[in-house]
């Protein structure tokens, strides 16, 4: 089976003030259709750069893609003209961003922002849809993310919504034009733990019900275990380990993964902090 998204040997360098840093060194990962994949790493591991390269959001310069391919449905995204690349963004693949406070425009209502997205997506796909149909679609998607009153929510400004509701609006935006692949960048990390649990469950339900592929980018191993069936572990610009999620936790292979798992405090207790004095 060929993958929906396949990153092959991706290398990225950043040049600032004449100094070059190799940020990604031969990163490869596959996302099959309908699969739930996690990409986990600490800050500086390159997970966000990988995500940005996939979405075509890397600013070049300072970034420079020095090698590799990003295949979506068999087409190399790096070879596409900008116009074709943009057309895929938000239609074939969508992103759910981390921070619901800064990803929404404070001066427009949710309906304004969502219909605008839909209008451009329709234009790219050559679809024709009237204003009333667009509004109906917005309400439909808001209901899908379990908003009780889609009409009221769509007429609201972001400041009128709670953090959890804003995060759900972002998920709704990503779903607007029925993408096949959803890329989620640490959704819910800015939220309270009970709200985060709801958001993760919602994402999981949507992905399974609608048959989407999910690429979950996170630093939280708990989130990896809850949302994915296959996982890639990144460290210092490389994929250091990949495995079925259950296998990774049961039998981690690389030293880095082992140390990462060991550093996570357990709900069952048993972590001894402090240096052991002989």
């Amino acid at each position: 089976m060929s993958a929906l998204l396949s990153v092959r040997d991706l290398s990225v360098e950043f040049t600032t003030y004449g100094q070059t840093a190799k940020v990604l060194q031969g990163v490869s990962l596959d996302v099959q259709a309908h699969a739930q994949i996690a990409l986990v790493g600490e800050s500086g591991s390159g997970k966000t750069v990988t995500m940005k390269a996939i979405m075509g959001l890397l600013r070049q310069p300072p970034a420079c893609i020095t090698g590799g391919q990003i295949l979506y449905d068999g087409r190399d995204l790096l070879m596409l003209a900008d116009r074709d690349r943009v057309a895929l963004r938000g239609t074939a693949m969508s992103m759910v961003f981390q921070d619901p406070m800064s990803s929404l425009n404070p001066v427009f209502t949710i309906a304004d922002q969502m219909t605008t997205i839909l209008k451009y997506a329709d234009r790219r796909l050559g679809r024709v849809r009237g204003a009333r149909d667009r509004m109906a679609r917005v309400h439909e998607v808001l209901a899908q993310v379990r908003m009780r009153e889609p009409e009221r929510v769509s007429a609201s400004y972001p400041i009128m919504l709670s953090g959890g509701m804003r995060q759900r609006v972002l998920i709704a935006m990503a779903l607007l034009s029925e993408p096949a692949l959803l890329i989620a960048d640490e959704p819910g990390t800015a939220l309270d733990v009970t709200t985060q649990a709801q958001i993760l469950r919602l994402l999981k339900d949507l992905v399974t019900q609608r048959g989407l592929a999910l690429l979950m980018i996170t630093h939280n191993l708990g989130v990896v275990r809850e949302t994915s069936s296959y996982v890639y572990v990144m460290n210092k610009g490389r994929v250091v380990e990949e495995a079925e999620t259950a296998t990774l936790f049961a039998n981690p292979q690389s030293d880095y993964t082992k140390s990462l798992i060991a550093a996570v405090p357990r709900l069952t207790g048993g972590t001894r902090y402090g240096t052991v004095t002989p």
């Binding site: 600490e42 800050s43 379990r146 009780r148 709670s162 959890g164 509701m165 309270d192 733990v193 009970t194 709200t195 985060q196 649990a197 709801q198 993760l200 469950r201 630093h219 939280n220 191993l221 708990g222 989130v223 990896v224 275990r225 809850e226 936790f249 140390s259 990462l260 798992i261 060991a262 550093a263 996570v264 405090p265 357990r266 709900l267 069952t268 207790g269 048993g270 972590t271 902090y273 402090g274 240096t275």
Partner: protein, 293 residues
């Protein structure tokens, strides 16, 4: 054993105001909270945003005046001592985001000197004390001349800890000290705090929303919800036999990495929709029964 910190019937209400600044009522941020921390122990306060945990920390630090109730540190009521050297020498605080709590225009040595100067520490002795503090938090002494932007997140938090320890307080309030850090860095900062607690005989009030971390660091916990402690006790017993529905909800929401931990999570349906927070209750109250003061 005696209590290092004792909090009795602590309450704080804030006035609510209309867009034009007129008082429209009040909101109760902390409502009749009582707990005590024995010397050398770690007490964890767990709660989500709006639970009042930061307001409690601010009242202990003397940054906010309680509406009623009392705070005793080492047996002495802090009322009337706020802003004095005596109060500052007993309790210090480590904040959540070291990127924001360290002044970017001060070197590490200058940041650490602020509490030293405020406590009339002899200028000639400052370099020696700074070096001693850097040793304590396991940073190289040359870091004294560095600026915050030259340090990693974990290093910055170590500087913040050094600054808090500068005047040798007995009680340290830790407000989410590792929530901005990577998990491996978090483990090392927790190691450091544990070691310091042991060698300096410190007492900690540990405020966090991370229940897994709390389970491994605090001997006793209090679960805060809407300004009230809904459950308190030995950490192990609260986590293994939660009594309050909110404690169960919190435990059920924690993402975990093993089947053993999963077995610990209460099997309750996660509420779909919004869990009421103080902020939202206030909004509701403001519309309906706003009490005018």
């Amino acid at each position: 054993m005696s209590a290092m910190l004792e909090i009795r019937g602590l309450s704080k209400t804030f006035p609510t105001r209309s867009a034009f600044g007129r008082a429209t009522g009040e909101v109760s941020a902390v409502a009749d909270v009582s707990f005590a921390i024995e010397k050398g122990q770690v007490y964890g306060l767990a709660g989500e945003s709006g639970s009042g945990k930061s307001t409690i920390a601010r009242m202990i630090m003397g940054l906010t005046r309680p509406t009623s109730g009392s705070i005793l540190i080492d047996g002495q009521d802090i009322a009337g001592q706020i802003g004095t050297q005596a109060h500052g020498a007993r309790v210090q605080m480590v904040f959540q985001n070291p990127g924001a709590s360290l002044n970017p225009r001060r070197t590490v040595a200058q940041s650490i000197a602020v509490p030293l100067v405020a406590h009339d520490f002899a200028r000639a002795d400052q370099p020696r004390r700074t070096a001693e503090l850097l040793d304590m938090v396991q940073l190289p002494r040359v870091f004294a001349q560095r600026y915050p932007h030259e340090l990693s997140g974990g290093q910055k938090q170590r500087v913040a800890i050094a600054r808090a320890l500068a005047v040798a307080p007995r009680l340290l309030v830790l407000d989410e000290p590792t929530s901005a850090l990577d998990v491996s860095v978090q483990a090392r900062v927790m190691d450091l705090l544990t070691d310091l607690g042991r060698t300096l005989d410190l007492t900690f009030l540990f405020i966090s929303h991370d229940l897994s971390l709390m389970r491994n660091f605090a001997q006793r916990v209090g679960i805060l919800y809407l300004g009230k402690i809904v459950e308190t006790g030995e950490t192990a017993s609260v986590f293994e036999h939660p009594r309050h529905d909110y404690t169960r909800l919190l435990l059920a929401s924690v993402p975990v990495i093993s089947a053993e931990e999963e077995a610990m999570r209460p099997l309750i349906p996660l509420i779909d929709g919004e869990i009421p927070t103080a902020e939202k209750l206030l909004a509701l109250r403001g519309q309906t029964t706003g009490k005018v003061t």
